[in-house]
Amino acid sequence: MRIFWTLLRRELAAFFLSVTGYIIIAAVTFLVGASFVMLIKNLGTDPISMPITEVFFNSFLFWIIVILVTPVITMRLFALEKASGTFETLMTTPVGDLEVVLAKYTAAMIFYLLMWLPALACLLIVGHFANEKNALDAGTLGGVYLGIFLSGGLFLSAGCFASSLTRSQVVAAVVSLAAGVVLLIVAFLAQVVPATDQWQEQIIPYFNLFKQMDDFTRGVVNTQTVVLYASLTLFFLFLTLRVVESRRWR
C-alpha cells in the first residue's frame, strides 16, 4: 500500500511537472468556457424546461473533450516509461504489477477529475444567478459528475491499455483515439438508426452513450449503465495488467 501511494504521488506529479498537463487543462477550460457561453445564450433567449446540466453537458462539446483529452492523458503512462527505459528500473524494484497499473490509472483518473473542476464552477455560477431554486440541485449535479467519472473512467482504462501495448506515445494516443471515435460513431448510429428487430432493440441501448449521458445529466442513475461502464473499465484494467505481466512469460 505504501508503494502504491509513492507511485501515485510520482505519477500525479508527472502530470503537473510537464507542459502537457497544463495544456490539457487550458484546452478543456477553453472548451468548457465555449460551452458555457452557448448555455448562457440559450438561457438568455427562451425559458428552458430542462435542467441546466442537461443543456450544458449533453452537447457535443462534452464528448469532444472526453474523446480528445483521454488519449492525451493516458498515452504517457506506460509508453513513455518503456521508451525511456525507466520501465526497467521501475519493474526491477520490489513493486507489484497490480500496484503499478492501479497507481497509473488512479493518477490519470484524478487528473481527469481535476480537469473538470472549471465546469463545476460554471454550473455554480449559472445556478447562483438562475433565480430558481431547483435549477441546480445536488442530485443532478451528483449525477453529472458520476457520468463524467464513469465515462471518463472507461475511456481512460482503454487508453491505459493502449499505452501498455506500445513504446510509442503517438501510437498509444492514436489507438485510443481511434477506439474512442469508433465507440462514438456506434453510439451515434444507435441514436439515429431506429431499431427494427427485437434483438436490435435489446442490444442497441448498451451502445447509446448519448442517451446514457443524457440520463446522468438529468440526475437519473441507471444501474445498468453504471454496471456496464464499471465492468468495461475493470476489463480494460485487467487487460493492462496482463500486458504488464506478460513480460514474465513472453
Partner: protein, 315 residues
Amino acid sequence: MIEVANLTKRYAGRTAVADISFTVARGEIVGLLGANGAGKSTTMRVLAGFLPATSGTARVAGYDVFYASDEVRRRIGYMPENNPLYPEMRVREYLKFRARLKGLGWRHSRRRVDTVMEQCGLADVGRRVIGQLSKGYRQRVGLADALVHEPELLILDEPTIGLDPQQIRAVRQLIKSLAEKHTVLISTHILPEAEMTCNRMVIMLNGKILAADTPDNLQRLVAGNSQIIAEIAASAEELREQLVQLPQVAHLDISAVDGTFLRCALTPRDGVDLRPLVWLLARERGWLVRELTRSRHSLEDIYVQITRPNEEEEG
C-alpha cells in the same frame, strides 16, 4: 551470491544467451566482458528479474530470480544500460522516491538518501532537475539509486559509458570502494576498465562464456607465446647468427632503433621464457644490453586471442 546454471535466453528467432553457467562469490567484483550484442545486458536483465529465462536457472543470494523475484529484487541494486531516469524530477526527490519504492521507511529513506548523495558526490546538486544535469552527474544519480537500499548485490550495466576520462576515474573509484560492502557485477566492453576494477572476469561472445578467471590467470593463459623484446648493441649479422642457433627461438625479427642498438623481437617455441637464455648469450658474447622484457599481454590481446581462437592459430 550469484549462481547461474545453464541459462538460456531466446528472443523471437535469436538466441541472446546460450547455456551459460557461472558463479559469483560474496564480496567479489566480477566483470562481464564482451563486444556489443554478446549477451551481457540480457544476462543482467535476467538476473535483475526483468526478463524470464527461456531455460536454466539463476539464483541470487539463494533465491530463484523467477520464482522468488520479490526477494531477489529487494537484494539487488540494478542500473540498466543508458541509465534511464525521470528527467523532470529533482535529484533528491528522485532518490527519495526510489528509496520508498524499494520499501524503505520514511525516516530511513531520508537518512539513506543523505548518505548515498554524500557517497556519490551529489550533495551539491540535490535540488537540481535531473534533465539538466551533465552526463557524469546523471550517471552518479543512477549509481546512488542502485545503492540507496543497501543491496547485497549491485548489477551495473556499462556504468562508465559516455563519460569523460576524469568522470570514468571517479566512477571506477566509487565502484572499487563499494566492494567492501557489496558484491558487484559490472558489464563493460572497455577492457582496461575491467582490468582495473575487477577481481574476476567473465568473457562472453555470441551468448556464450569463453573464459572466466582472474585477470592474472587470463594473462598466464595466453602469456605462453608472448614475445621477448631485447635491445642489444651488436652487429645485425652477429645477432642473427647467434640467436637463430637457439633451439627455443621460433621466430626472430631484428630492426634498428637508435645509435648502435638493435631491437630484436623473439618469439619462443612452446612457451619457453627466453629472457635468461638471451641474457646468458649476451654475457658470453659481451654484448651491451639495454632492454630485455617480455611483452605483457594487455587484456585487449587476451580478449582478441580468446574471442578469435581459430583465426589466431591459422594466422
